[in-house]
Symmetry: D3
Subunit: 130 residues, 6 copies
């Protein structure tokens, strides 16, 4: 299995409803350093998994609507945990891939992993077929 991973980041505010979140129930925020991993069984004719430049572009486009945002307003009624956001970004990148946004060879991609690094001591990810 081959993989390629690209990185970008977002800076968001939110509050998490639910006793389990303790102090994070208050309005606070996070820098999420976002890694997106593209998996492919074999290489394309160009010896790549995916065009890294396009991968960076698609990631930036997907992150646009949630960057410098209050997620309580972007996702009203949702509990926007790190795990929830991993899945949201996964859904959006998978959609972009299926619509050809990653270029000609992107139909060969098998899976996608989205990792959100929230501090030097915590991160989360979601991995699923594309």
């Amino acid at each position: 299995m081959f993989a390629v991973e690209v990185r970008d980041h977002i800076m968001i505010a939110h509050s998490l409803k639910g006793e389990v979140f303790g102090p994070a129930q208050a309005m606070h925020g996070a820098t999420f350093v976002v890694d997106v991993t593209f998996f492919r069984e074999t290489l394309s004719a160009d010896n790549i998994v995916v065009d890294m430049g396009r991968a960076h572009d698609v990631l930036k486009r997907v992150l646009g609507p949630i960057n410098y945002a209050n997620l309580d307003e972007v996702f009203p009624g949702e509990v926007t945990t790190t795990e929830y956001l991993c899945r949201h970004i996964h859904t959006e990148i998978a959609k972009a891939a299926r619509e050809g946004g990653l270029g000609p060879g992107s139909d060969g991609l098998s899976a996608l992993r989205v990792t959100l690094n929230e501090s030097h001591v915590a991160k989360a990810w979601y991995e699923a077929a594309i």
Copy 2:
């Protein structure tokens, strides 16, 4: 598959019996930066894999007896390699999870990975069902 990972560290002394260890047969030591990854197929009702705060607490409790310790005394007769310690910590965290130490939703966890970073050029991990 969803995952959440938390980080802590220990500072230990030990000596490794066996020719394969060369200079590490002498009494020496290590800082192990410990990452514990919790895997879960679906999210809990709170949109989480595990309560990160509890995960940090359980990790710190499990690391307590081996932190600032001479492992030749804590594990007499054992060859306490990085790999051995990964499995030891895995066993202890899995036990804590089964006993409810990670909170109500922790019965949904499927697997656990324990990574010990021993320097900027070497690490080891152990992953198995919980």
Copy 3:
């Protein structure tokens, strides 16, 4: 010159008033990984710059009131840039040092640097005499 540096982090929300901040004028947030550096010309009788355990404790205490917080409420009317927060934390740690919170040898400290890492591509710091 000797130095010792300890690390912790906070997760905050805020909005920055001023055209120069572009999209950061909206409510958003950040994880700030905070490094505090203690400088001392010579070592104490215990061969240390500062008690690292106490340094970590003081840092955590200083960060308490601004962790999991909306800084627009904690510092009303202020533009809470990364640089502003570096100076705020510097002021609080210097005060704790002068009041003896860092232990007996802390009167020998000459200066303090506070670094806030806001992403994998940006950080800021403030350094001044204690």
Copy 4:
């Protein structure tokens, strides 16, 4: 599953033929920080996955012919993408393992992953049975 990972690096020049590579079609270069991960279902009699010292040595020997090199000359006619190099290094380390270069216990290794970190925002890897 147990894993051990060791790190080294190479500094290479190359040019990538193919429109998809945009500006990387010109002669340029990269530092690849190389991580090799060894996987093993159970530990050896010495409680290890592989002799870390030997693993570092084998990695350095495999990287020798492509370090400080122009890959257009080392691999004439090939498109030496990061992904291509991951597979090349995988092939060479797997061969060394089968020939006993990793020591007595290396016949128990099940798989190998080779990761090339090409910048702070991009990396690639290849993983396959040994």
Copy 5:
């Protein structure tokens, strides 16, 4: 003293003339992860050292002509060591700052440091008044 630091990277090829460079006399290359640090004695009216967005833009513009390039052609006859490139980038950013490229408050900047990280085990920097 306040400081703000931003990061970007370049991927270059070059060969270094001089016996001291050993194997690096051959055509090879590097990823340089570039950190530029802006120093300022006091904060601007907006509580900043420099507009981070503009700082990133200026850095990207300065790096443009040397990214994806063979430095033997860009700087003919020069020994383009990591240290040499630190100074080159320093000169270009200082010029941009003096010409107002960093925005209205940039006349208050006192100094500039340019760091090139060339691998996980080596880096260089140049610091001087602006």
Copy 6:
């Protein structure tokens, strides 16, 4: 001011005498990731601060006697804190530099900094003229 920094590491055991060290009074250990920074006002005729290859070699030679060692035996009666070890390594590298171990241009070096990273949340350094 120019600077070049190289990295290596050691794995040691020790116990620290003195109430201030709390649990670190027991036999324990550390991985110290060691960074040595060489400072020079101007570049040599080869456009370098120091020969990076020789710098790595000298660092490895200086670290030899304290690697895989019990520092209670190497430095009997001493309190071998991180800060103490920074100064020890500084002394040894400065001596090697004065004796020509860093090559012809090393007489132009002005200062040396030795940083010991002891975990992901703590480090110390010592900087002084060479």
